[in-house]
């Protein structure tokens, strides 16, 4: 509880600072103009999504090998928050792409990668929602969580065989120029940390909600049996 409160506080502070930087402080990009600022939400959302998906796998492994209930709840929560972050990334991307590339969507490797990854974890969340009444759904979800994270690197390599045009922003590899302006770099990385903290906080809240949910279910059953 204590840790959660501190995390909530840190997230709020950092998010506020990051919003100030994004909307007030950071210089407007010379060629793209104002729309480039969307990057400071777009990229952090992707990073947070990746963190969440790795967390799904970690929780899944803990649940399968150790029978950890907590691991299962973490995986569930991280799956949902990951889908949220991935959706945020997929929505902001086209808004930027339309004025810059002239199209909402293209079958670029990174775009394909993200939409496929999104589909994997939407499936994961659906499995958990639809399978709620089935026994062993936590085990099945854990299997999906582990195969999902194993598939991500293979999918990454395979989509590279498609034709690409997505800019590489932070690296100088893949034809990217790197980010020259220090304020821009600061804003991007700080927004990244803020977004990851936000995701972590949401995951913790969701884990707690699920724990309460499950103990409420147990209590309800006890009461029903007690009344008979």
């Amino acid at each position: 509880m204590r840790a959660m409160r501190w995390l909530g506080l840190a997230t709020t502070v950092l998010m506020t600072v990051s919003l100030y930087l994004i909307f007030v402080e950071v210089p407007t990009e010379r060629e793209m103009g104002i729309v480039q600022r969307i990057l400071y939400v777009h990229a952090p959302a992707a990073w947070a999504a990746y963190v969440c998906f790795v967390l799904v796998a970690v929780g899944s492994v803990a649940h399968l090998w150790r029978g950890s209930e907590h691991g299962d709840r973490v995986a569930l929560a991280a799956g949902e928050v990951g889908v949220l972050m991935c959706t945020l990334n997929l929505v902001t991307g086209p808004i930027w792409a339309r004025p810059i590339w002239g199209v909402w969507w293209t079958w670029d490797p990174r775009l394909t990668m993200t939409v496929i990854m999104w589909a994997i974890y939407v499936g994961y969340v659906m499995l958990r929602a639809f399978g709620r009444d089935d026994d062993g759904v936590a085990r099945y979800a854990a299997v999906v969580g582990i195969t999902g994270v194993l598939a991500i690197p293979v999918i990454r390599v395979s989509v590279r065989m498609l034709q690409g045009m997505h800019p590489a922003v932070t690296t100088t590899r893949e034809g990217g120029s790197g980010m020259a302006d220090p304020t821009m770099r600061l804003t991007l990385y700080l927004s990244g940390i803020a977004m990851v903290l936000l995701a972590a906080w949401l995951v913790m809240l969701r884990v707690r909600l699920e724990a309460l949910h499950r103990s409420a279910a147990v209590l309800r059953r006890d009461i029903e049996y007690g009344l008979e």
Binding site: G123, R139, T147, L150, V154
Partner: protein
């Protein structure tokens, strides 16, 4: 390993007597090839360019639909519970089941590849061994992953809907690398397909091993 082969033989025998999965696979794949070709309405030159994509989309979609059956057979009369009660490694069940799926996929392709070749005018005769390597690698990864997931969704209430949703995104590497490798093989033989073949091999190794390791957790009650 002997247990795996016994399960494999049993599945083949059931299949041979009913021919339900095989006939469904073949007819469905023919329909898909025809539908996809019609939808594109290609000129002769376009047709050849579309062929690898149509071939792989057909293989993956029909495969996803049919793999479900392999575990539904076991649900009748609670066969899976009996199999699990037998003093054999659950991984042997996985291997036997995956081998059965592999044979079905290969049998389906024996029909679909000539069909695609004739209908979309791609000469495959000269590169048949190379094409077989590409298809075989794709089938292996498909069977490895699909068998694991079919075992899982066969036990759920909403299985028919969930299996394709869970499998299709994970099968992306097979689709992309399969298409790219087939294109390369049709144009310049196996060496040109190096990168795509690498992806297929990596996919096979990862998901056959992961399948064998995770399968016992799926069927354990």
């Amino acid at each position: 390993m002997r247990a795996a082969l016994a399960i494999f033989r049993k599945d083949l025998r059931i299949e041979w007597r009913t021919r339900e999965s095989l006939s469904t696979l073949v007819v469905l794949s023919v329909l898909l090839v025809v539908s996809l070709a019609m939808a594109h309405d290609p000129t002769p030159t376009e047709a050849a360019r579309l062929a690898p994509g149509i071939l792989w989309a057909t293989v993956i979609f029909t495969g996803v639909l049919v793999v479900q059956r392999s575990f539904l057979v076991e649900r009748e009369h609670d066969c899976l519970a009996t199999l699990l009660g037998a003093p054999i490694d659950p991984a042997a069940i996985y291997v036997g089941k995956a081998l059965g799926m592999l044979v079905l996929l290969v049998a389906m392709q024996v029909v679909v590849v000539p069909l695609v070749s004739i209908m979309l005018r791609v000469p495959v005769w000269g590169v048949l061994p190379e094409l077989a390597v590409v298809l075989g690698l794709g089938d292996l990864g498909f069977a490895g992953l699909a068998t694991l997931f079919a075992a899982m969704t066969a036990r759920l209430r909403v299985r028919e809907m969930l299996l394709p949703i869970l499998l299709l995104p994970l099968l992306t590497p097979v689709l992309i690398a399969g298409v790219k490798a087939t294109e390369a093989v049709l144009e310049g033989g196996l060496p040109a397909a190096g990168e795509a073949l690498g992806v297929l091999v990596a996919f096979d190794v990862i998901f056959v091993v992961a399948g064998g390791l995770l399968f016992p957790f799926v069927v354990r009650d």
